[in-house]
């Protein structure tokens, strides 16, 4: 349920309940993307280093 859904009510329960859900989901997405981007950068840097070495 998003805040624009007709069932949404601007009360603390909705903010806490749905807020916690979206916080967790956002954290997981950030962690996965962070690891993916770091792995990709490692790969690029390693390749560059490899080319320079040769």
């Amino acid at each position: 349920m998003f805040p624009f859904a007709f069932e949404w009510a601007n009360d603390p329960v909705h903010f806490v309940f749905m807020g916690a859900l979206y916080t967790v989901l956002i954290c997981l997405v950030i962690i996965l993307h962070y690891c993916g981007i770091r792995a990709f950068l490692d790969l690029i840097c390693k390749k560059k280093g490899h080319d320079e070495h040769h």
Partner: protein, 415 residues
Amino acid sequence: MDSASAPFDSALFPEGTRRCKLRWFLLWLAVLHGPLMIGVIAMLMCWGLALNVTNLNNNYPFGLWIAADLGIIALGAGAFFTGFLRYVVKIDELKHIVNFAVVIGVICYASAQGMLGVDIGQPLRGWFIFWHANVHSMLTEVAFCITCYFMVLCIEYLPLILEQRQINRLGFFHGMAHHLHEAMPTIAAIGVFLSFFHQGSLGGVPGVLYARPFAFREGFLVWPWTFFLFILSAIACGPCFTILITWITEKFARKKLVKRNVIDILAKISGRLLVLYLVLKTIDTVYWVSTAGKVGAPFSSFYANSPYGYWVLFMELGILGVIPAIILLSEKARKNENILILACVLNCAGIFMNRWIMTVQSLAVPVLPFDSYVGYHPNWVEYASTLLFVWAGVIVVSISYRYLPIFSQEKELNP
């Protein structure tokens, strides 16, 4: 092992490990698919012919599936709790078993969601609980937390797949696995947060049933005492389930996979938590008996209907509670493998019995003067569709054990 006698798929095995021939492995998987298919048929019957093919009715909207669901989720607590001990409390020895705890956790939570998918009858409407969420319901909280925690478990399982010998050769996957390992304490902390709430809320569901004195409990703020008891019982039995499945895997593999000191740490922690749980559960039971009697629900009325006699209480707290607690606390008893496994079996059976009592027996006790007791026995459709996930779990463990680097001590223990 020379290359001529090595199994066909030996290039996929974890480095330095041995596995059986591929044909025996495929035969094993084929054997498991027999009962699995019976479960699939039962599941399709539930979806195609609706829930009247089961023995669920208006007296028992919660039956075997929900009790098994609660039990499996409690057993899966080994994953979050081992992760918590390894990454947050920093008990380093547990790094040798945390991977397998994650595999077990993934299976337990996937099974729980699968069973719910059968139980709701119309799985195509499963998303309603997220979109049309009733934010005052503990079950909504459970659904949110279980779904999110399953995602966490999948992320924890991902590095194991990425570290598979052939996949790990690819630079990106190697790096991804490395960075996921670095992020694991954060992921484990999110898992602990989610598990705390859904394990507790599963206990909160019966605890807030004001009209059912058998299940109702007072509590702290919005949480009945069952909320805290469920968390405690889950973390007391989860590690025992991890030990039990590790032992079964060792027996099938015919080799040691984890050192005894690692098992001993888990067993000792489990024993202490089980004692704490039993003390609090006993206090809760005494208080519940005294207060329920005052509001017109005498203790004897809870245990007046066969088969739910006083033996249930004795069995749950005594045989399946006190005995494993004594064994797990005694260093001498823990050192004997057979006695340790007996304690683990009793502990896990105790958790299943507790979940059955809190769901099915709660519904069995009549609450109105004109109510009469109606019994409930699950039929084959319910049993088969529940066991379906056990067989699926065995297949996942088998494939994971064969191809993924789950047991870091295997090479050392089997040179």
